[in-house]
Amino acid sequence: MNATPGGADPALWLPEPWRIERVRRELSDTFTLELQPTAGGAPLRFLPGQFNMLYAFGLGEVPISISGDPEADGPLVHTIRAVGPVTEAMRRLVPGDVLGVRGPFGSCWPVSGAEAEGCDLVIVAGGVGLAPLRPAILHVLRHRQRFGQVCIFYGARTPADILYRHELRRWRGQFDLLVDVTVDRATQDWAGRVGVVPRLVEGGGYDPQHTLALVCGPEIMMRHTARALLARGVRRERIHVSMERNMKCAVGLCGHCQFGPHFVCRDGPVFRFDVIEALMTVDGL
């Protein structure tokens, strides 16, 4: 009755229905959805690196990063890899189908802040980890003059697993970007690099002292990449990684995504490496 908490959000749990406009098959198990709100209305404002909770009717809700251009008024874009029942069901969706959307949630890649101004940028992605970085890359391309060197290092399991292949090629063609792609296992038609991504950061003509690094991929890949970046002299607090933990509420009250003292949904998913470095070395945290 007294001192009751304020600020209850009546829509906290309610996904809003968004309609699928386009489906793009990216890879055998990965696809991109473009969505518009069924009720019409404004596009979703978000920051690069943030995510939404996507709800498939009656099936479940999953956290998925936003992969579109944060500054374009286009559709809401999500790139999803089908790995389990909910994402599998999403793979079967066709234009016209409806998904529930809650969001956006979480922290962002610090590409628009002062700390990025004038820096070299090293963007490192593994597998579907390129999807959460895409908005950051699009932002950088839009404001290219604000940054120094920009390197994009990308690793996939096999050549067939390379996400956003055409876009990567386009970026690679741009004179002011360094785009380097590697695969774990080559196939016959692959003439590019073979090896793990962390090796790529050893190259590239960026200036470690003035570099901001954004890393997204499997946890072990991020650990190794960070180590390689540190070895080159990139400062701890200028490396950012995006964490994954089980998520149910996305607003810091279900407890699932705790990572040490952090809620990945609220304090993350993007963390400064120095903040979580110690935690990342603990098994089972």
């Binding site: 001192a3 908490p5 959000d9 749990w13 009656g58 603990v282």
Partner: protein, 365 residues
């Protein structure tokens, strides 16, 4: 401070009932003083005590007097009426025409009064208020709840609220606060209000004046009670020391005894983990989302594609203890433990948070 006779306590209950409030309070059931709806005055556990609690040991015993609140915290905490064990968050109906769906959420918030909230539990409610600050259903229920707190003069065997600075005096967001005072075995109640609603309520009760001596006696009894806690926890630097020792060998030693049964988390009045289940009816046209109490001791709790983060039960115990006593400070600016002692009493194998925390905090490796 004023005084309410035993008859006055009855009036209090009747006034609340007249206001159509459901009164949740202590009741004797299944050999324990649990919390439940009070339908009549006699539902209160007259002359029963449960203060002799120990790790994995709880018994109710008759008292020599007719105290109504001569017990401490039992197996249930108030959270089950604010953060429900299971709750439907929304229902959704599929629209036949366009493949979309319509969602609706109708949180219910019955008018209630909590009667007999102790210091530790009052602190726990304050903590959950912060956690669920944006949760509509929680806030609605909280809004509709009147809190009548009670001071503890007889702490229990697993209590350590004094260490956690949450008791034995009930402090914080109460509407009324009672102190049960026994004169020759007959109780009367010293009463204070803590809010406008409390003051209004008080005005409707047959209160009597109380003397400065009465007041002094209560203060003295409370100070006394603080020295009689069954457990204690040295909180100085505790959070830092625990957080710094995720690799301590003691975690494995606890895991050898721990059943990962989750009882500790579920009886804890501040634990807030929940899980979500989305489901449909057999025809697939209506869906609902259910939230229910979950626990970090559950393997599924840490599931992500490719594996469970905390597969090892030792990691789960560590998560519980570190969250409670260390990470909580970072997350919510307070300890997650209020010293109510429930997790100690209700752990079937008697694992004692105060002992385990001290073991980890007390040595380096």
């Amino acid at each position: 401070m004023q005084r309410l006779s035993l008859a006055g306590l009855a009036v209090l209950l009747h006034v609340l009932w007249a206001d159509r409030r459901e009164i949740i309070g202590p009741r004797l059931r299944d050999g324990a003083i649990t919390l439940g709806i009070l339908h009549r005055l006699e539902d209160l556990p007259v002359g029963w005590s449960d203060t002799a609690q120990e790790a994995a040991q709880y018994r109710v015993v008759p008292r020599a007097d007719s105290a109504r609140f001569g017990h401490v915290t039992g197996p249930l905490s108030w959270k089950r009426w604010l953060f429900l064990p299971e709750e439907v968050l929304f229902r959704a109906v599929r629209d036949d025409q366009d493949g979309g769906f319509t969602l609706s959420a109708t949180p219910t918030a019955p008018l209630r009064a909590f009667l007999g909230v102790r210091g530790c539990d009052l602190a726990a409610i304050a903590i959950q208020d912060r956690i669920f600050a944006h949760d509509p259903a929680y806030c609605a229920r909280r809004e509709a709840t009147l809190i009548i707190a009670i001071n503890c003069l007889e702490p229990g065997g697993t209590c350590f609220c004094a260490s956690m600075e949450t008791g034995p005096q009930a402090r914080g967001a109460f509407d009324l606060r009672l102190t049960e005072w026994l004169d020759a075995g007959t109780p009367s109640y010293l009463v204070e209000s803590g809010s406008a609603a409390g003051r209004k309520l008080l005005a409707r009760l047959p209160i009597e004046a109380c003397t400065p001596e009465d007041q002094a006696r209560v203060e003295q009894a409370l100070a006394q009670a603080a020295t009689r806690m069954g457990r204690q926890l040295d909180t100085g630097g505790l959070a830092e020391r625990l957080a710094a020792r995720p690799g301590h060998r003691h975690w494995q030693q606890v895991a050898a005894r721990c059943l990962s049964c989750a009882n500790c988390t579920l009886v804890c009045p501040t634990c807030f983990c929940s899980t979500i289940e989305d489901r449909t009816d057999l025809s697939g046209t209506t869906a609902e989302r259910v939230r229910r109490w979950d626990s970090c001791f559950d393997l599924e709790h840490s599931y992500i594609v490719g594996g469970n983060v905390r597969a090892d039960p030792a990691a789960r115990y560590r998560q519980w203890l570190l969250h409670k006593l260390a990470y909580w400070h970072t997350q919510f600016g307070t300890s997650g433990c209020t010293g109510c002692g429930r997790c100690i009493t209700w752990c079937p194998v008697g694992i004692d948070l105060t002992v385990e925390a001290a073991a980890v905090a007390g040595s380096e490796a």
